[in-house]
């Protein structure tokens, strides 16, 4: 249980690791919402798998964050005892799961992002971070192998599936820019070789995604608007509801072991 939490007073390394953990836990939650709701039984299984990979990442990262913090907090204290202004995930992870096209398009965008990001993060000078990245990159390669054919099939399937894909791109594109922004504490860690220069990934990401989508004649277009704020605890309205659900038992029954 965490009584008072002031993110500004935390070390750069803590904030960096916590941000990555929040990204993972929030995305895993959205993915887990598909369980028993997917279009194929095979997809119930596959989306649960991806969700489990992200829960795994979140746990390792929270455990490490707690260790860095040195206050004897647990992974669950960090996940269940911070409120919506204290969560620091990038917004794209928290958007509601939407339809299957939205979920898969977000996943494709993130898979491509993590593909480039983790490839760099495995060389982090921080051994724990590097080890977590090394495990995660294998998962992400597999995730990407799954999301790509889905985007292809849905883009070129029926008129309806294509329309849903276009709508998903439209809804998501304003949330992509934030992935490539460097919060000051990550910039600080970059000098020490611990974090990754996010801005350097923008071009490879753009090239990869645009090239892939162009084959199906899907235009990513230009986004004038970039919505940001996640790392500073400025979220969409959706996060609060997610946390209500996710944190309910811990908050109703404080200090208990489960």
């Amino acid at each position: 249980m965490i009584n008072s939490f002031s993110i500004e007073q935390q070390s750069p390394l803590f904030r960096f690791v916590l941000g990555l953990a929040d990204d993972s836990v929030v995305l895993s939650h959205r993915l887990s919402e598909w369980c028993s709701n997917a279009p194929y039984l095979e997809e119930d299984i596959a989306l649960s798998n991806v969700a489990l990979d992200y829960i795994g990442r979140a746990r390792m990262l929270y455990q490490y964050a707690a260790e860095i913090e040195g206050k004897e907090h647990t992974e669950d204290d960090l996940a269940y005892w911070r409120n919506e202004r204290e969560f620091t995930n990038l917004l794209i992870h928290e958007l509601p799961k939407g339809d299957f096209a939205f979920t898969m398009m977000r996943q494709f965008f993130l898979d491509v992002f993590y593909h480039f990001y983790l490839e760099k993060l495995v060389d982090s000078k921080d051994e724990t971070v590097a080890a977590i990245a090394a495990k995660a990159i294998k998962e992400t390669r597999y995730h990407l192998k799954r999301s790509e054919p889905w985007i292809r099939q849905l883009s070129e399937g029926t008129e309806e599936s294509r329309a849903r894909i276009l709508r998903a791109v439209d809804e998501l594109k304003d949330f992509v820019g934030e992935l490539f922004e460097m919060p000051p504490w990550e910039a600080e860690l970059l000098a020490e070789g611990i974090s990754v220069d996010r801005s350097s990934l923008q071009k490879p990401w753009d090239d990869y995604v645009q090239k892939f989508l162009a084959v199906s004649d899907v235009d990513f277009g230009d986004s004038q608007l970039q919505i940001r704020g996640g790392r500073n605890g400025i979220h969409t309205e959706h996060l609060g509801h997610m946390l209500c659900e996710m944190q309910y038992l811990q908050r109703c029954y404080p200090t208990m072991q489960w």
Binding site: H29, S32, C35, Q153, E156, T158, Q250, W258
Partner: protein, 328 residues
């Protein structure tokens, strides 16, 4: 009128004799083997019912995935429910070896023609229900499925061997969750007791009616589709579970549970068979909701499946066009 000539009659009698000999010799019946139509139907009924139970069973537990009380519990629960989806998939595929398609089975589920385990028509009201289900429902399923590892239809028997391994992990995680609650605070212990009290009776009903009342039992036993009687398996489950309740330190969910020295078994109270019948026949607390959920997910996914079919067709057309061009 069906005309069967003498030769055919003889051939059939021969096949039937071979089939019955195999059963008597404890050999497995395999997909390509000749089998009486009634045997095929019986196995389809039982296997598809089992598959549907795995799938519908995802819902009551799935109800707690997004509210699991810790990241560890959430990961365990999600992978458990994912396993159940895997069991369903595996069983659907195994059932398809009998000449019925997955979509036909799903249609039968949604129309109410096919049944699934009545237990999943009860709501999961608290987190403790998740523990109780893993412990009791998967526990009861294991007792049943271990006996089915010797069922006469080969693919079903092999499916049971594979599935049982995962079911024992399910039971352990459920028991462990109950243990944490019953050894936690008084509020948690109360939560565990309440869940045990509610899940206990429906778990006993999972074994089906008394042997004397069971509609499908005798033929299934003769064909060795079913290996042990309902009452035998139920008793086995009660005997193994009562000491577990004691370890949890919870009160017995049935005041009539008592060790019977003479029988070497626990005695227990009578099940509410009226409730069993009602739930099996569609008027349990969640029957409507479960099928509605299944239909909604299925309908929501229709555009995806259509897109996949259409994409495949387009790829085939492209291939044909290419071949035509090179030919021309």
């Amino acid at each position: 009128m069906q005309v069967i000539n003498k030769d055919e009659q003889l051939a059939m009698a021969e096949e039937l004799a071979k089939f019955e000999q195999k059963i008597a010799d404890e050999q497995k019946i395999e997909p390509g083997d000749w089998m009486p139509e009634a045997y095929r139907k019986n196995v389809i009924r039982q296997m598809s019912q089992h598959a549907h139970s795995e799938i519908i069973g995802m819902q009551p537990e799935g109800n707690w995935i997004t509210r699991a009380p810790s990241l560890r519990r959430k990961a365990i629960l999600l992978s458990k429910v994912q396993d159940e989806a895997g069991h369903g998939l595996y069983l659907y595929s195994s059932t398809e070896t009998l000449g019925i398609s997955r979509s036909q089975m799903i249609e039968a589920l949604q129309s109410g023609e096919a049944k699934y385990a009545q237990i999943f028509n009860y709501p999961t009201l608290t987190w403790a229900d998740v523990g109780a289900i893993g412990w009791l429902v998967d526990g009861a399923a294991i007792v049943n499925q271990i006996s089915l590892q010797r069922t006469s239809y080969g693919p079903y028997a092999r499916a049971m061997v594979r599935i049982c391994k995962e079911e024992s992990f399910h039971q352990r995680q459920g028991y462990e969750a109950m243990y944490a609650l019953s050894h936690g605070t008084p509020v948690q212990k109360q939560m565990a007791q309440d869940a045990l009290d509610r899940v206990w009776w429906p778990s006993l009903m999972m074994f089906g009616p008394h042997d004397s009342e069971s509609a499908h039992s005798s033929q299934s036993m003769a064909w060795k589709i079913k290996r042990m009687s309902n009452d035998y398996l139920r008793q086995k489950f009660i005997d193994q579970t009562v000491p577990q309740i004691e370890v949890l330190g919870l009160a017995m969910p049935d005041p009539d549970i008592k060790w019977n020295e003479e029988r070497g078994h626990y005695d227990s109270g009578e099940i509410n068979w009226q409730e069993f019948k009602e739930v099996i026949n569609g008027s349990g607390p969640c029957n409507f909701q479960r099928i509605k959920h299944h239909k909604a997910a299925h309908q929501d996914g229709e555009w995806v499946r259509e897109a996949v079919r259409s994409y495949k067709q387009k790829q085939v057309n492209k291939e044909i066009n290419k071949q035509n061009e090179t030919a021309a």
